[in-house]
Amino acid sequence: MILDFIRMSWRGIKTRKARSTLTVLGIVIGVAAVVALIAIAQGMQATMEREFEAIGYDTVFVIPGEAPQGMQAMPDRMRRLAFFGGGSEGAVLDLSRLKGLPQVEAVGAIRTETAIITAPGLEGQGFLRVTGLSSGITQGFPSYFSGFSLAGGRGFGEGDEFVVILGPKVAEDFGVSVGDRITIENKEVEVIGILEESEDGGMQRGLPGDPNYGIYLPIAAVDSLFGEPGKVSLALVKAAEGADVKRVSQLVEQAMATAGTPVTTTTVQEMAEMATRMLSSVQAVLAAIAAISLLVGAIGIMNTMYTAVLERVREIGIMKAVGAKKKHILSLFLLESGLVGLIGGVLGVIVGVALASVAGRLISGSMNVGPMAGGFSFSAVFPAELIVGALALSFGLGALAGVWPAQRAARLSPVEALRYE
């Protein structure tokens, strides 16, 4: 019985191809928008969680300098994060003071400078950013550093100074392989390792720049090439297991302020919260837009169904004359509008999935979170509930839009309907 009704409804849709197509299009747009937005938002959420998880929620980021007090309207943590976003000039910090703090497990330092580089594959000189890593970073933050696997050569070892590990792309540009030499600030350094190409850029586990173009030295080498030993661009502090990370970050700020070198800290937890908050407000706006386009689609269905009822008054009269009850007419029209919705939903899901995948690729690599991130590995997520939900929603919305027209159809008196010209 229900199958027969579906068949009849389908025929109703087919006989008005052009109008049905346009109506379906309205729903497609709405559903595609909803699916794409949710998939992208979920993808972002998942990516962020994954990245922050990888850095570790026990990590405190420390940059030299105080966040400016100028923008009082900004909440404190926002101000701090904004400061992180702008980056810091760097300053000499006595990080050994931090190692003594209770609840601190490891401390690492990163120093970035712009260096004059010559290499076999480079014409003339290049001005490129080099990154000095302390042994605290490479040893104390293994998970943090796990984004770097070597394609060849070795990692930094005890006593290494004028050695360099290159990202695969920059190694190619330099025309060098493991064992070759390049000069940095006129000093010859040996290439001891080359990183594996990272597909997505990673979030660089918080390190500056794209690792594919990274030029990494022991921090001691950067100190002796550029002077100002002990200068730090970014320090990482790992809280001991079970420690209150927020408290640790406060202790770090206090300790460095006492030493006369104020710093600003933020925890991974804070960054994650801020990112989530930003994401959800963006999401709310996008969801509202998507909801409006769905509503417009539903009104389109209502309009089409209302016209369909008017066009088919006589047909309704005929069906009633041969024994159709109210519920039969009602279900015919509801099924028809529901089917229009469902077809729109299926196509909308397809379009939405395609859109979100493409958008995911575009967003990937162009998104920055904080000073320590370059590219952002990102892909949209399509949970089964999203797909099923979108289909159910579009059928439901279609049927709902058909209620009013279908009721009008069902209420027609058979004699009146048959007389209708």
Binding site: A321, V322, G323, K325
Partner: protein, 227 residues
């Protein structure tokens, strides 16, 4: 089979009232073939609708097959006419988007008859009315006479006891008209269907066993015709 007692039907058009039936009493026995004649606007169609449960009288009673139907709800009426009454209209009233076969199937769909049986029965009836070669044709692809035969097949498909035809030959030439009348008469004689036909054509009325004349919403006389 059919029993009308003082049926009154009044249509309101704004402030004016059109009294289409002004107290019609009529009794039709099972297996009878009755013609209803009368001038245009006299209430013939209204009478047929009231008999066939398409419409309810404002006053009076209608009994079909011993059951009072004048007080039934709209859905109960729909159910009743679906099973018990077959309609044939002057303008055929086929669904234009459905094929002949599907049009004949339609009443069975609302009775919940399974598809296989519907198809078999619809095909059988179309063959019976001489349209075995036209199953897939849409109404627009059929002649008037063929359309009316599809409508007759449709009227028969739930095996109703009562067949009501409102000027079934009104839109047909005399040859197709005669074919249709022969078909209807055959149903009355061979299958013992009770048949009520509205017409203004005395020739058509002559097929019937009895003619009822109606004028201004009232029955005029009941004339017995020799058979």
């Amino acid at each position: 089979m059919v029993e009308l007692v003082e049926a009154v039907k009044t249509y309101k058009l704004g402030k004016t009232e059109v009294r289409a039936l002004r107290g019609v009493s009529l009794s039709v026995k099972e297996g009878e073939f009755v013609a209803i004649m009368g001038p245009s606007g006299s209430g013939k169609s209204t009478l047929l609708h009231v008999i066939g449960c398409l419409d309810r009288p404002d006053q009076g009673r209608v009994y079909l097959n011993g059951q009072e139907v004048s007080g039934l709800s709209e859905d109960r009426l729909a159910e009743f006419r679906g099973k018990f009454v077959g309609f044939v209209f002057q303008t055929f009233n086929l669904v234009p988007t459905l094929s002949a076969l599907e049009n004949v199937e339609l009443p069975m769909t609302f009775q919940g008859v399974p598809r296989k049986r519907r198809l078999a029965l619809a095909r059988e009836l179309l063959v019976q009315v001489g349209l075995g070669e036209r199953l897939r044709h849409r109404p627009a692809e059929l002649s008037g006479g063929e359309r009316q035969r599809v409508a007759i097949a449709r009227a028969l498909v739930n095996d109703p006891k009562l067949i009501l035809a409102d000027e079934p030959t009104g839109n047909l030439d005399s040859v197709s008209g005669a074919q249709v009348m022969e078909l209807l008469k055959g149903l009355n004689e061979e299958q013992d269907k009770t048949l009520i036909v509205v017409t203004h054509d005395p020739e058509i009325a002559s097929y019937a066993g009895r003619t009822v004349h109606i004028r201004d919403g009232r029955i005029q006389e009941v004339a017995e015709v020799q058979t």
